[in-house]
């Protein structure tokens, strides 16, 4: 069926991003907004706004009741959850079905099979993907026995975790028991699921992911992205395609991602995350993200596709409009996450109000943001205020273009991290391409 009106259950730049595509497609928009966001750019752009509760996420953007009610009151026929918040929540998908609403995302069973990291690992094994050595701790079993078969060092991971949350490293075997106990307690408190599992901790690897798109039958890949520049598992710079992979490795990763999608009969937009060991040309399945991602614009840049429009088409029940051979890749794209934080003061967050906002514009430059003069950055949500995306014929030119674009980026009234990105674009290792996840801490130490 055709979607006529979409409730956007999110905020910030992604809400603005989704509204833009809806307007282009002639779809009406209703924004679900908390008290902190009633005057936001997205609220002023949306066809209508429904207040969903106080600023605190638990009482607004994370409240399934409030979101479903907003969709019904706003007479929407579908919900786009964006990323974060309830985007991968199977319960929201179930409640949508019960209320006669379309959930723009994968099926309930897929959300369940992907959100549970142990089940996802099992699916990956069934689909023939390589996984990092590891396994679940059976009831009453000694984790030390499992750790010995996996090999040290060990990562204790929460089944309900993800996005860098709920992970603990163990380097000293004598610390294993207490770490597992602590992880179980924290997992129960944070995720409502006390299950944890063990994996070998790979200290030096690259984070490379493959974007896939499926309609439940056909699955295509939209190439790789490299997200290795991270601080405490939070991505700072992303690029597409991932630089410096051999042609064999790249196509093996593409094939693995498509195999995983086919095995799941995946419907929607999703990302398969891999850990790549470049010394051995090996890659391992890490997890899947069953939503649109922050870094999707770099894929849009090199493929020319509008991924939000693709999500909506699949949610309408249409078969994929493109075959694998229709997907072509042009040039290189880089995204810098502009965050309201002070990199000189241990990345201290900088909430506040923007007095003046200047963004770069020009060939190959795109800025996704909800910031304009007068916009506030409330302390309740994350610190990302803009995404600066460049697209150029090759990586060297893209890095250069990004450095020039960063010079123009200015938000008076907030401390933002453009100087950090400028330093990254000038870094010899980054310029060479293909850094691993240990790069950023090293970069900070060498300043």
């Amino acid at each position: 069926m055709n979607i006529r009106r979409i409730l956007i259950a999110n905020r910030g730049e992604i809400a603005v991003r989704i509204i833009r595509t809806c307007k282009r497609l002639g779809i009406e928009t209703v924004l679900a907004a908390s008290d902190a966001d009633l005057g936001s750019l997205a609220a002023r752009m949306a066809g209508a706004v429904v207040r969903i509760g106080p600023a605190r996420p638990a009482e607004s953007y994370l409240s399934i009741d409030a979101i479903i009610l907003a969709a019904l009151e706003g007479k929407a026929d579908a919900i786009h959850p964006g990323y974060g918040f309830l985007s991968e929540n199977a319960q929201l998908a179930i409640r949508c079905r019960e209320a006669g609403l379309i959930f723009i995302g994968p099926t309930e069973a897929q959300l369940d099979g992907i959100g549970d990291k142990l089940k996802a690992r099992g699916h990956a094994v069934e689909a023939g993907l390589p996984v990092v050595p590891g396994g679940s701790i059976e009831m009453g079993a000694d984790p030390a026995v499992l750790a010995e078969t996996i090999g040290w060092p060990i990562l204790v991971k929460a089944v309900g975790g993800g996005g860098g949350r709920g992970m603990k490293q163990v380097h000293d075997p004598s610390k294993l028991h207490e770490t597992v106990e602590l992880a179980v307690a924290e997992a129960a408190a944070s995720f409502g699921d006390s299950r944890v599992y063990l994996e070998r901790y790979v200290a030096s690897g690259r984070h490379v992911e493959v974007q896939i798109l499926g309609d439940g039958e056909t699955v295509v890949h939209l190439g790789t992205r490299d997200c290795s520049v991270q601080r405490r598992y939070q991505k700072l710079v992303e690029e597409a395609p991932a630089p410096g992979l051999s042609a064999e490795l790249r196509s093996a990763m593409h094939a693995a991602a498509v195999n995983f999608g086919r095995h799941m009969r995946y419907r929607g937009l999703g990302t398969i995350e891999f850990l790549v060991d470049c010394r051995t040309d090996e890659f391992f399945f890490l997890e899947m993200n069953a939503r649109i991602q922050v870094e999707h614009p770099v894929t849009e840049a090199i493929t020319g596709l509008d991924l939000v429009a693709e999500q909506i088409a699949v949610a309408e029940g249409r078969p994929l409009g493109l075959r694998q051979e229709d997907v072509t890749f042009t040039g290189h794209s880089i995204e810098c996450r502009i965050n309201a934080e002070d990199w000189d003061q241990d990345f201290r967050p900088s909430p506040g109000t923007a007095a003046r906002v200047l963004f770069p514009a020009g060939d190959g430059i795109r800025v996704d943001s909800h910031m304009e003069a007068g916009a506030s950055v409330p302390p309740f949500y994350d610190s990302m205020v803009a995404k600066l995306i460049v697209h150029a014929p090759d990586r060297t030119q893209a890095v250069e273009r990004m450095a020039q674009a960063l010079d123009v980026c200015r938000i008076d009234g907030l401390t933002i991290n453009t100087a950090m990105h400028k330093a990254l674009m000038a870094d010899v290792e980054f310029k060479a391409g293909g850094v691993d996840t240990a790069f950023f801490p090293r970069f900070m130490q060498q300043r």
């Binding site: 907004a33 752009m45 207040r51 009610l69 967050p349 674009a405």
Partner: protein, 168 residues
């Protein structure tokens, strides 16, 4: 509606070939200023203002049942500038955020009135933009007043607690 990136690119293509360095465009829905950023890089700065107000749907049933916004600052809280009596010290948060008195819901508070603290004692947590920062006592003594509620949004200069300093 505001301009899309494609709209801006199209305007820039026209401007690039011109000898103009600045463009101001105003319609009833947006204001746009484009300025050449210098050099031959073809990069411009853009400053956008989206005009108009949000169309807030006034819904009876749904909105009324929503929880009300949390109460503001406690009435008895001393003003940030108020001088404390000699021998007393104020504990303030390191930055604006949501104040928590315990490590997690249901856990006992870090401190109560009467608790003894040292400079490194954690007396609470401030959550700012999804990051948790400890609030330290920064002085030695006894907690005599607690002004901030659990879960309350506190400004950076707000007095959270008052400590009776240990005689030196």
């Amino acid at each position: 509606m505001s301009l899309s990136n494609d709209d801006v690119q199209e305007i820039l293509r026209l401007l690039e070939g011109s000898f103009h360095d600045e463009l101001h465009l105003e319609t009833k829905s947006f204001k746009l200023a484009l300025r050449r950023a210098g050099g031959a890089s073809g990069i411009w700065s853009q400053e956008t203002t989206t005009l108009g107000a949000a169309n807030l749907l006034n819904l009876g049933s749904g909105n009324a049942s929503l929880p009300a916004a949390p109460p503001g600052a406690g009435a008895a809280s001393p003003s940030p500038q108020a001088a404390l009596a000699p021998g007393l010290a104020a504990i303030r948060p390191p930055l604006i955020g949501t104040f928590y008195r315990a490590a997690k819901p249901g856990a006992p508070p870090f401190v109560e009135e009467g608790s003894t603290v040292t400079p490194d004692t954690v007396v609470g947590i401030i959550e700012t933009m999804k990051l948790m920062n400890p609030v330290l006592a920064q002085t030695s003594g006894t907690v005599v007043e607690i002004h901030a509620q659990n879960g309350e949004l506190v400004e950076a200069q707000r007095v959270l607690m008052v400590v009776k300093k240990e005689p030196a």
